[in-house]
């Protein structure tokens, strides 16, 4: 069953992600995808993640289709203007890509080509509107398309953002602009997540909670220090620090988090960041 259909049916949906590599050797990526095939409903394909240049998302999404895995095509507004975004979307549609995750994208100065001219001609909310327009059969300028798209568009939200209110208002705008599902930034504070879900549930849009695999106490501290909207609680950091096998501990923690979220939201989105082959272990730890 496809991603959209599984959400519509109310199944607890699991997604994970693959990061396209830098360079033309895709063997490791293909290995990861194959390890996840059948274990997850769909796989996100990141778009020059963290503003680091890699293989194009469109190409890797097509490779996923060929491998028999449903892609969620991530599209940021950082590297292309409205012409580029729309033409890639039409390209994705004819290649058979159904799901698009609309993002603004990290700033170029955070990546590996710091001197690049950042585009941001559009941003996530406007990109969602554009996708809606393509689905209706017209481009952004109002020109009629010869053949329309049929995308299932989604967006992201950061339930632990600080301050939270502006983030929530933007979440509402994304729904208004056509977001049909959400994946969240990593969730660690279950209380805050409950509070977010209480307010979000009235919109009846499926939300997949982000699960970020912690591989060590050092990694957790790094996230707290450098990644906005993520705060790993001290207890978890201690748990990792006290463990002799931190990776196994991280897998156990992720499994536990998924169990806790099972009845709270529509599914989970697992970010294993380079350890995609561990996703099946996380699912086993979650009892799925």
């Amino acid at each position: 069953m496809g991603f959209k259909e599984a959400l519509a049916k109310g199944e607890f949906v699991i997604t994970a992600e693959v990061g396209p590599p830098k360079g033309t050797d895709i063997s490791e990526m293909v290995h990861h995808v194959e390890a996840l095939k059948g274990k997850v409903t769909a796989l996100n394909v990141t778009d020059n993640q963290s503003a680091v240049m890699r293989i194009s998302t469109l190409a890797v999404s097509k490779i996923l289709l060929d491998l028999g895995v449903e892609p969620i095509y991530q599209m940021t507004c950082r590297d292309r203007n409205r012409l580029g975004l729309q033409s890639d979307l039409l390209g994705a549609a004819v290649l058979g890509i159904k799901n698009v995750l609309a993002l603004t994208g990290d700033h170029t100065t955070l990546g590996d080509h710091k001197s690049a001219k950042p585009v941001f001609d559009l941003e996530s909310v406007q990109l969602l509107q554009v996708i809606q327009g393509l689905n209706e059969g017209h481009d952004m300028a109002g020109n009629e398309l010869k053949g329309k798209t049929d995308f299932f568009a989604g967006a992201i939200v950061t339930p632990e953002a600080n301050p939270f209110e502006p983030q929530f208002a933007k979440f509402e705008k994304k729904i208004e602009a056509g977001a049909k599902f959400f994946q969240t930034q990593a969730v660690y504070d279950i209380k805050k997540f409950h509070a977010f879900m209480d307010r979000a549930s009235k919109y009846n849009v499926p939300i997949l909670a982000g699960i970020l695999l912690l591989k060590s106490a050092g990694m957790a501290r790094f996230l707290n220090k450098f990644v906005a909207g993520i705060s790993v609680p001290d207890e978890l950091i201690q748990e990792l620090a006290n463990s002799e096998k931190p990776l196994a501990k991280g897998i156990e923690i992720a499994g536990r988090q998924i169990r806790e979220l099972r009845n709270v939201c529509a599914g989970v989105h697992i970010m294993a960041i380079g350890a995609e082959d561990k996703v099946p272990d996380i699912l086993a730890a979650a009892g799925i």
Binding site: D106, F120, S124, V125, Q126, E165
Partner: protein, 219 residues
């Protein structure tokens, strides 16, 4: 005002290397206010350049003049004995430098500053950008705070996921414009405005080769 920073002496030295008689021209308006290209800075830069050339044993003659505005042709007319020099170094903004270049097309005109932005002076020696001259002002929608100039991504519909305790993802020393806008609209009891989707910008209005023609009637 327009804010500019002085170019490094080394760069100015390289640009002027083949000239022995240089006119250095300051501007009495914006670059004077931002302490980059007024009478005082012309004197400092000229003195430094003379010294640097002396060290190399190649003396240079530098004339120093400062006019009220280099972006206004009538003031440029006040410059004296320009043709006694081989080149002009201008310490005005990009418009001022080009004003001089337009008036003296036969002379090489060299930039002595890097023009940075339209902004204001927050405190002594500290300037911030406020406007990108986008050609279609939306400050009435954003609580008087410009997201085009002050959000790192020029976003129009609220903060990105990178905002961190009210700071921007590109650096914790920079305020997140969208947090400021939210707080401002909240203060004004106008969060309704925040929730309205702002359409994609018409960047044709911010494009190159812009002009304004007041002679055109009825537009």
């Amino acid at each position: 005002m327009i804010v500019a920073e002085p170019k490094k002496l080394e760069e100015i030295k390289q640009m002027t290397d083949k000239f022995d008689r240089i006119l250095m021209v300051g501007c009495g308006t914006c670059t004077t206010v931002c302490l980059t290209g007024g009478e005082r800075e012309v004197n400092l830069m000229a003195t430094a350049l003379r010294l640097a050339r002396k060290v190399e044993g190649r003396d240079v003659e530098i004339g120093e003049q400062t006019i009220l505005r280099q972006c206004d042709f009538e003031y440029i007319d006040e410059l004296k004995d320009v043709h006694n020099y081989q080149a002009i170094v201008s310490l005005a903004c990009g418009a001022g430098i080009q004003g001089i270049a337009r008036k003296f097309p036969e002379m090489p005109v060299l930039p002595g500053v890097n023009t940075k932005f339209i902004g204001f002076n927050e405190e002594f020696g500290y300037y911030t950008e406020q406007c990108k001259a986008c050609g279609d002002c939306i400050l009435h929608l954003t609580g008087g705070i410009c997201p085009i100039a002050r959000c790192a991504k020029g976003l129009l519909n609220g903060p990105c996921g990178g905002t961190n305790n009210g700071k921007c993802e590109i650096g914790s020393d920079k305020d997140c414009a969208w947090t400021l806008i939210y707080n401002q609209l909240e203060r004004q009891g106008n969060l309704k405005q925040f929730k309205e989707i702002i359409a994609a910008k018409d960047f044709a209005k911010a494009g190159n080769i812009r002009s304004m023609d007041l002679r055109k009637a009825g537009d």
